[in-house]
């Protein structure tokens, strides 16, 4: 890396455009916290009729996103391992399939989940307006992130380490638990944090599949429509703070991995 020099027009142009991008992202973040009205915050946090539904929405959001992340990790980490280590028929197809939710418009993802697992779906599980519907939506949109980061993590572990472990007497399972998994753990943790953040941010598919039980995102939308910006900001700011905290945790994890 070299320091910017004043005389190079290309670097000046890049710095100018880059600064514009940084400002574009920073201004809304600053605005949200600047416009946050402590009075409105206190009201949504403690007054009737807001407080109970706000508390319920936060509870739903946390438990559903937490469960979604756990489920996605439980299934996604083994899948990531298989994709990183084994060749099998249809592997490319599986890899593409897993990534499709990343490309879908969120509303479309919601419709797909509805026709798949809704009351009249192909597999009629009746997920409409249920807690498990919320979990299903969150898992659907965040699974690709978990699988892809776990896969990259496993792929970065030198296969000869597993071979040495096996030759020293470890069964495949013990070699995985003592060598491969610890070495991929930071990637897996990073994947889980990213999946969690993705689950927290979902709203489009929730509007279609599970408006109820209300998550915080749905409530922000409702407050914006019913009570205006002041109340929407009071709900949105804590959510933004949480997302930033998650992001900070991710940075710590990723930086640790480089050391």
């Amino acid at each position: 890396m070299s320091r910017l020099r004043g005389a190079e027009p290309f670097l000046v142009a890049a710095a100018a455009l880059g600064s514009a991008a940084v400002l574009f992202i920073f201004v809304p973040l600053a605005a949200l916290f600047l416009l946050l009205d402590p009075g409105a915050l206190a009201e949504v946090a403690s007054r009737q009729p807001y407080a109970p539904e706000v508390a319920a929405a936060f509870a739903t959001t946390f438990t559903a996103s937490g469960l979604s992340t756990a489920l996605v990790a439980a299934a996604g980490v083994p899948l990531g391992y298989l994709l990183a280590r084994r060749d099998f028929a249809g592997k490319a197809l599986v890899e593409s399939l897993v990534d499709i939710p990343l490309m879908l418009p969120h509303v479309v993802a919601g419709i797909m989940l509805l026709v798949a697992y809704g009351r009249r779906g192909l597999l009629p599980l009746g997920i409409e307006d249920t807690f498990w519907g919320v979990v299903a939506v969150m898992a659907f949109v965040s699974a690709p992130i978990m699988v892809d980061t776990a896969k990259a993590g496993f792929a970065s572990v030198d296969e000869s380490l597993e071979r040495v472990a096996r030759s020293l007497g470890a069964t495949p399972g013990r070699a995985f638990l003592t060598v491969t998994l610890p070495l991929a753990s930071r990637s897996i943790l990073a994947g889980a944090i990213l999946s969690w953040a993705r689950a927290l941010s979902e709203v489009g598919a929730l509007l279609i599949v599970a408006y109820y039980p209300k998550t915080v995102n749905i409530l922000v939308l409702e407050y914006f429509n019913a009570y205006g910006l002041r109340f929407a900001v009071a709900l949105a700011a804590p959510l933004a703070a949480l997302a930033i905290a998650l992001f900070a945790a991710l940075r710590v994890v990723v930086r640790g991995a480089k050391d």
Binding site: V164, S167, L168
Partner: protein, 245 residues
């Protein structure tokens, strides 16, 4: 100790063929050949990571052809040493002992004994990333020797070292072998390693084992000619520069 019979193994488009290869107990067998000739494939077949299409691998008189790697009693030292980066040198050496379920005190005794033998007792608490190339090689050897394997598989164990370290590592391997008497299958592209270490030399060409014999006999075959020619040129160049023997 190790016996390979009419073996064919395929990996992608590559085919390895070994009609017969044998190492008696305590023998140091070096398989020599240029890069890309299939030496690492041979190591992986013996270790159990590549299943042969035909033929048998016998270890200690037992047919190991279908045994999983962890039941073969061989210890692998891969080309880059394969030290576990998230464990201390101590835990690396202890790994195989713990996998065998040895009691903690016995693990500790054998780790310290092996580390002493290799002169790395002062490095036991270090992580592999903080070791020099020579120290890493010693740690990897210690880890392999600690489990007292039936057979040690060494995949180009000296090629990552600079020439100065390579000479002392050669001496180290010779010393360890004469002291411990383990059976070794060592693959390399270096004739010097083969001549200094081997009780018996195998030569590979194009995926086939084409020769086995004593180091002395190997030198009189055509396979040794290019190596000897190179050695002759080196010696000529050295004497031209006044640095020769």
């Amino acid at each position: 100790m190790l016996r390979i019979e009419s073996l064919t193994a395929r990996l992608g488009g590559f085919t390895l063929r070994v009609d017969e290869l044998e190492a008696a107990r305590g023998e140091y067998l070096v398989v020599l050949g240029p890069s890309g000739v299939g030496k690492t494939v041979l190591i992986n077949v013996v270790a159990g990571f590549i299943a042969p299409e035909e033929g048998r691998v016998l270890i200690d008189g037992r047919d190991a052809t279908r045994l999983p790697p962890e039941e073969r009693g061989v210890a692998l030292v891969p080309q880059d040493y394969g030290l576990f980066p998230h464990m201390s040198v101590y835990d690396n050496i202890a790994y195989g002992l713990r996998m065998r379920g040895l009691p903690r005190a016995e693990v500790d005794r054998r780790v310290r004994e092996t580390a002493g033998l290799l002169g790395i007792s002062h490095l036991l608490r270090r992580r592999p990333s903080t070791l020099s190339g020579g120290e890493r090689q010693r740690a990897a050897l210690a880890r392999a020797i600690a489990v007292e394997p039936r057979l040690i598989l060494l995949d180009e164990p000296l090629s990552a070292l600079d020439p100065r370290l390579r000479a002392s590592a050669l001496e180290l391997l010779r010393g360890l072998h004469s002291r411990l008497g383990f059976t070794a299958l060592h693959v390399t592209h270096s004739l010097l390693e083969a001549l200094l270490l081997a009780d018996r030399i195998g030569y590979m060409e194009g995926g086939r084992l084409v020769y086995t014999g004593t180091p002395g006999d190997f030198l009189s075959t055509g396979y040794a000619a290019p190596y000897l020619e190179e050695a002759r040129r080196l010696s000529q160049a050295l004497s031209r520069l006044g640095a020769g023997p």
